[in-house]
Homo-oligomer: 283 residues x 4
């Protein structure tokens, strides 16, 4: 079907307006849309939660069922509108937020075709991911990116740290299995490793705990070690965050020798003495 130019322009304008409302938050309508969307998401998550409480389900089960379907239909409509108003629907559909949006509506439909109750519950949980959409509203993107950059900058140190922790819990878990034995709750090496993780992270449920003297001595060692080790990731992240806030480095390269990493206040290149372009304040 070929639209005449007038109609095509109208369609474009409407598409543009819809995009402004759904994807942006700097107009009055766009803001209201986002606020209502977030409240709907939180409500629908609440519905799923309440549905899992036996006492509530008995009394309000049918109402919750209807609420769930209402929200699902609303989110489906929203998903279709999103697809229709972006320039490249395919790119949106395979973006992270697009996939989350789809996963947020699929489970309810799937629960129709697959009436197996166990299955249904497994799928339903994915809808909780909808909470992530709330983040869209946040004007905190700048701060979040500082945090993420600090975590990324320290990812290698954290990886080494995690590897050390894993090695320690495997060894200590196995040792405790030998020392305590199945009689005291340490029924297998995997379970003993679970205990070692519970202990080293200072969670300490107490569902499994050493009973023998040697076991308690080794457990004490593990606890003090865990207590000392917690200092390491904290130190890593803190050092990285402190660094992020320190000395400003110019983003400019020397026009002559192309060297990077000049201080923001540098006038001449420190490697070849060429005059640098004056830094333009951008932020």
């Amino acid at each position: 079907m070929i639209l005449n130019p007038k109609k095509q322009t109208d369609f474009r304008r409407m598409q543009h307006r819809l995009h402004e409302i759904i994807f942006e938050a700097d107009t009055r309508a766009g803001k209201w849309f986002d606020v209502i969307l977030i409240l709907s998401i939180l409500s629908s998550v609440l519905v799923v939660m309440l549905d899992s409480v036996a006492a509530v389900k008995v009394r309000y089960g049918i109402f919750l069922h209807w609420m769930e379907w209402t929200f699902t239909l609303l989110f489906t409509l929203e998903y279709l509108l999103r697809l229709s108003c972006v320039r490249k629907p395919g790119r949106y559909a395979i973006s992270f937020l697009g996939i989350v949006d789809l996963l947020a509506i699929l489970p309810t439909y799937l629960s129709l075709m697959l009436p197996g109750s166990q299955y249904m519950i497994v799928i339903r949980i994915l809808r909780v991911l909808r909470v992530f959409r709330v983040l869209k509203l946040a004007p905190y993107v700048g701060e979040a990116s500082i945090l993420i950059q600090a975590l990324l900058a320290s990812r290698r140190k954290v990886a080494i740290f995690l590897l050390t922790i894993l090695t320690l819990v495997v060894i200590f878990g196995s040792l405790m299995y030998l020392i305590e034995g199945a009689g005291n709750g340490f029924t297998s090496i995997p379970r003993s490793i679970y205990w070692a993780i519970v202990t080293m992270t200072t969670v300490g449920y107490g569902d499994i705990s050493p009973k023998t003297n040697l076991g308690q001595a080794l457990a004490s060692l593990i606890m003090i070690l865990g207590y000392a080790i917690i200092a390491v990731p904290t130190g890593i992240v803190t050092a990285e965050l402190s660094r992020a806030g320190h000395k400003k480095i110019s983003t400019q390269a020397c026009p002559a020798c192309m060297a990077h990493g000049h201080d923001a206040n540098a006038v001449f290149c420190k490697f070849c003495s060429e005059r640098l372009n004056p830094e333009k304040e951008s932020n």
Copy 2:
């Protein structure tokens, strides 16, 4: 009633003297007043606490009742004196400390009119807020404001952090509900989320704990994650506190020797003794 000038001056002087004693702590009388006030507050909180211990209430119930009324009447008198000696009583009454002062005496009176025991207990608890008045004495205001400023400066990062934690506990809580089921104590999603918070914050009561292998594996993941995540708020606050404490460095160079890095309060260049240009306050 019109007071003659002499009497009015007398009243003003007395009002001023009272203000000095009650609101300030730099005279002998003012200091004594504050010390006695704090001891009274602590004693009255102790009375409420002891009153809640069954064994104590049986034996000393009447005495505690009298003590409670004595403290309430004393604090009421103090509240009225405060109102009478400030220039603008209305402004004091709606200030934070004024409201706390009022809330500290109201519950006991309300317990007379509303004899319902359950109600009474709910009201009584508000009196514990009286403890806040102790802070008045503290000469630590400067240090406290550094702490508060550091926390305020990092409020956005902390908000992002809390949002991440909440999202994680909702997802992990729901997953554990599916994995463990009601039989192992994970009776509903809200309760499973409660468990996830208990685990992620490394509290670990052990009233609910995973029993299945898959559940213990996921719990291990949550614990290690929680252990790594604790590094983030620490890093945020530490970086902020370090920044707050860094000595201010002037951005000026010496007009004579061009040396940088002078303290913000420096008057002369520390390298060549030339007089520096006065720093213009920019922030």
Copy 3:
């Protein structure tokens, strides 16, 4: 009794030699003395510990009793020698280490005069303080003083922090007492405050834990708060320790205007342009 000069000199020399052995550790004899002393202290603490284990006491009770007396007599001899070889015995006796030395031997003697077994145990525990003497040997005094200085520098911030924690646990403890009630283990406000401390410090025994929905919701809030609050003391101490390692500040005052706080590299006073005395490297 008047000693002739020769003998008096001999006595002085012996006293000096004894002082060198007992109080110093830079001679061969002094080092050996300290090593043996520390091993004796650790052994005697071990004896007290083993004596408390019922199974061990039944079999080795008499041997442990003899060991205890042997150590006590040895430490008494040592205490007397210490008193005899210092210039001012009175000053040693009332010094911190002197009091600890005395308290380390008193309990065993007191257990003779007061045969009440409960009493005896109470006294015995003080001997564990003997462990503090081990610290004498440590060549780590410099590092320890950095730690102590960092802690002292942050004592006000820590005091504010502790006051905040105490206020929070009193309020939250009382609230939980109202919400949960005596039926769920929250038998009194003091016990509920104990629970709040157990929770906020992320210890989480699980001997008392909330059962009601509202209680678990409030508990979740307390845990997340405690988790966030742990960042504060860490931040304080870290910032202080980082500072300790930073920019060196000269200990000199300006000869002309007496101003303090010059950088170690400053040549002229930054306040009055007077030439500073050259810094003498002392450490």
Copy 4:
């Protein structure tokens, strides 16, 4: 047996090629070898773990037994190849990794000669150490060395910290033994010290917990102390890590404009473009 020159050269070449594959990871074959080795190690650890689970052992015991022997024979072959292709086999054999490699294969052979099941289990656990070999692959050596250096630089402060903790748990453990007594689970001083460690490290199993009022009050003190003390090692490691990451600043001033604060790698003054004197390495 004397090899002719041709054959000897061939042997050398083969030995060199083998060394490249087994000890290095920069050729295609070397990379594959390492990846397969790590997968084998992880699989063999998994086999040991599964073997400890009663339900799995009943069904797959024989298969796991065969797997264990296959891995052991493979690792034995690998160990012999390693010995044969290094220049100095003796030095490899007594290196840390060499000993771990040997310990990783010995237990299975020893389990043949010593059929005592208890013994066998004790030996088997050493094979878990094989996990350490995984670290060989890690390209994270640089980051790990920063972490290790930071930990080494703070080893004295950490030692003081640990000594303080140990002293505190001995004293508090003994006090709790006196206060609570054997009836409430504090059956001996060593067990009470175990409880103090569990509490101070905020693990909090709850297998032993104070029941008396005085005991709960002291426990509260220990918890808050532990909570505050956790700040110290974190502060130490963080300060050290921050220091390690600080950009090196040259101590030189520009010969022309006397400006300070040039980076250690700067060749020209960043303020006036004068050539700087070459930095003399002092440390």
